[in-house]
Amino acid sequence: MPQLMRALRVEEPWEGTRGARVRLSPRARVLAVAVAFGVVFACFLAIGRASSNSSAAATEAPPGISVVNSSAAIPRALVIAPPLDTGPDTRGAAAISPPSAPAPTSTRSVRAQAPVAPTAAVPAPAPVRRVVPTSPVPPKPAATPAPVAGGTPSPASTTPHGGSGSGSTKPAGAGGGGGAPSSRGGGSFDSSG
C-alpha cells in the first residue's frame, strides 16, 4: 500500500479540505492512458464484431463466396389466360357428335367453376355454361380439373348457372365469328344459326 501510495502520490488531505487529491506520477499517467485506450479498443472491437455478424443476412453468400451479378431476366410463366370453355357452342354449326359411349344424360349444363389449368392459375371463377344437346359427359382426363356438371336437363336451356367474374360477359350473335361480347345480361347463348 505504501508503494502504491508512492506511485500514485496520493497526498493525505489537509485539514479542512474536501476529499483526497490524487496526483499521478508520469508513469501512472501513461499506464492509465494505456488502460483507457485498451478498454476503448476492446469495446469497439466487440462492437465491430457484433455489427459485422448481425449484418450478415441468411441469404447472403458468406465470405469466400462471391456472387456473380446478372441482369438477365425471363418470364417465369405464361400470362394467365381465360380458361377454355368446356364445350364450344353449336351456333352456326352442327351439333357436336356424342362420344361412342353415350351416357344417360342427354344434356349437360356446366356451372360456374372455371376449369383450372394444372399449374397455371386461372382468374376468378367465371360462369361457364355450356349446353350441348345429345352429348353425354365423357370422362375427363385426370390431369384436368373437371368442371362440376349439373343443372337443368333441358336441351333448350341456355341458362347460365351461377358464378360471376371475368367470364360473366356472354357472347351474342350467331355464326363462327370472333366472339364479340354482348352487353346483354344473363350470359346465355343464342340458339339461332
Binding site: 479498443f41 469466400g64 410463366a77 405464361l78 370453355d85 363462327g176
Partner: protein, 318 residues
C-alpha cells in the same frame, strides 16, 4: 501551462478515436475473413477428398455417419461432414445428383418446394456454382442451402449445407468449406452467368406469344362457337409455331442448354395441343374437344414449368 494541457487533451482525444476506429475495423474484419483464416474455433484446415471434390474443412469437422437424407434429393455416393462428426444439428453432405434435367436440381425435388429458392451464381475458389438459399422443405426444419455445380457430360456435383436454428454459426462454417471447393477429375463450371442477350431474346419470343395467346383466348371464351374455336385455335397454334421458330434461332448458353431444349419441347407440345383443339372443333366431337382442352392445359403448364427452370439457373423474373 494551459496550452500544454489543451494540447495533451487533443492528443488523447485523437488517440481514443484512432484506437476506437482501429478496434471497430479489426472487429468487423475478423468476421469477414475468408475460410482459411477462420478455422481457429475448429482447428486447422485440412484438405479432404469427398466424392469428386476436394474441400478444406476444419479439423473439428469430421466425416459423419449415417449420412443425413434430404427429402426428395437423391444424392449419389454421398459423403457427410459435421462438427465433431455428429450430423444431428448441422453438417455438409456432398455427392452427385442425377443429371439430364433442365436444372441441376431434380424436378421432383423442386416440385415439393412451396416456393422456389433464391438462386445465385457464385464464384468459389476454382469453379462457379449455383447457390440455392432459403430452401424450404416440408418436414425439414433446418436451414438448407444447396450448391450445385453442373458438369458437362457428367452428373452435377451437389453440396448441401444444413443447420438447426441454434447452429447458425455451423451453417456459416459449412459454406466456407464449400468456398474452398476444388473439382477433382472435372473441369468445373466457369460459364454459369446468365446471358442477358439470350434472356432478352427468349423473353421477346414468349411475350409475343403471350400477347397473341391472351387475345385469342379471350375471343375463344367469348365467342366459343365451333367455327370460331377452330379458327382461333389454329391461329394460336400458328403463334406457338412462330415461338418455336424464334427459340430455334437462339443459341443457348451452355448452362441453359437443357432448359432451352425443355422450353422448346414444351412450346411444341402446346402447338400440338392447340392443333388438336382445332381439329376437335372441326370434327365436332365433344370427347375429342375435352381431351384437347385438357391437353392444352397440360402443355401450357409444361411451358410454365420450363420457364420456371430458368429461375433456377440464375435468371431473374420479368
Amino acid at each position: 501551462m494551459l496550452e500544454s494541457n489543451r494540447g495533451l487533451s487533443t492528443v488523447l482525444a485523437v488517440g481514443v478515436v484512432v484506437v476506437a476506429v482501429l478496434g471497430y475495423v479489426l472487429g468487423a474484419h475478423s468476421k469477414s475473413t475468408p475460410a482459411h483464416d477462420r478455422s481457429s474455433s475448429h482447428g486447422e484446415l485440412r484438405p479432404t477428398f469427398a466424392a469428386s471434390v476436394l474441400v478444406e474443412s476444419p479439423s473439428g469437422w469430421k466425416p459423419a455417419l449415417p449420412v443425413p437424407a434430404v427429402p426428395g434429393l437423391t444424392i449419389i455416393h454421398p459423403v457427410a461432414f459435421a462438427p465433431l462428426g455428429n450430423p444431428a444439428h448441422a453438417g455438409l453432405v456432398t455427392g452427385q445428383l442425377q443429371g439430364g434435367e433442365p436444372t441441376p436440381l431434380p424436378a421432383a425435388f423442386v416440385a415439393q418446394l412451396a416456393v422456389l429458392p433464391e438462386t445465385q451464381v457464385v464464384s468459389l475458389s476454382q469453379t462457379e456454382a449455383f447457390r440455392y438459399s432459403g430452401v424450404s422443405l416440408p418436414g425439414f426444419l433446418r436451414s438448407l442451402t444447396i450448391f450445385a455445380i453442373p458438369n458437362p457430360g457428367s452428373n452435377p456435383t451437389v453440396l448441401v449445407c444444413y443447420a438447426d436454428a441454434a447452429a447458425a454459426a455451423d451453417m456459416h462454417t459449412c459454406e466456407q468449406i464449400v468456398a474452398s471447393l476444388r473439382p477433382v477429375g472435372q473441369t468445373g463450371a466457369n460459364d454459369l452467368t446468365p446471358d442477358p442477350a439470350y434472356a432478352s431474346s427468349v423473353s421477346s419470343a414468349i411475350m409475343t406469344l403471350d400477347g397473341l395467346r391472351l387475345t385469342l383466348r379471350q375471343q375463344m371464351r367469348l365467342g366459343a362457337t365451333l367455327p370460331s374455336v377452330q379458327r382461333l385455335a389454329t391461329r394460336l397454334k400458328d403463334g406457338f409455331v412462330a415461338a418455336v421458330a424464334s427459340l430455334a434461332r437462339l443459341e443457348a448458353p451452355v448452362a441453359a442448354g437443357q432448359a432451352h431444349a425443355a422450353l422448346s419441347r414444351a412450346v411444341l407440345g402446346a402447338r400440338d395441343a392447340y392443333a388438336a383443339l382445332a381439329a376437335a372443333a372441326a370434327a365436332r366431337s365433344l370427347a375429342r374437344y375435352e381431351a384437347a382442352r385438357a391437353r392444352v392445359y397440360e402443355a401450357e403448364a409444361q411451358v410454365d414449368s420450363s420457364l420456371q427452370s430458368f429461375a433456377l439457373l440464375g435468371y431473374h423474373s420479368l
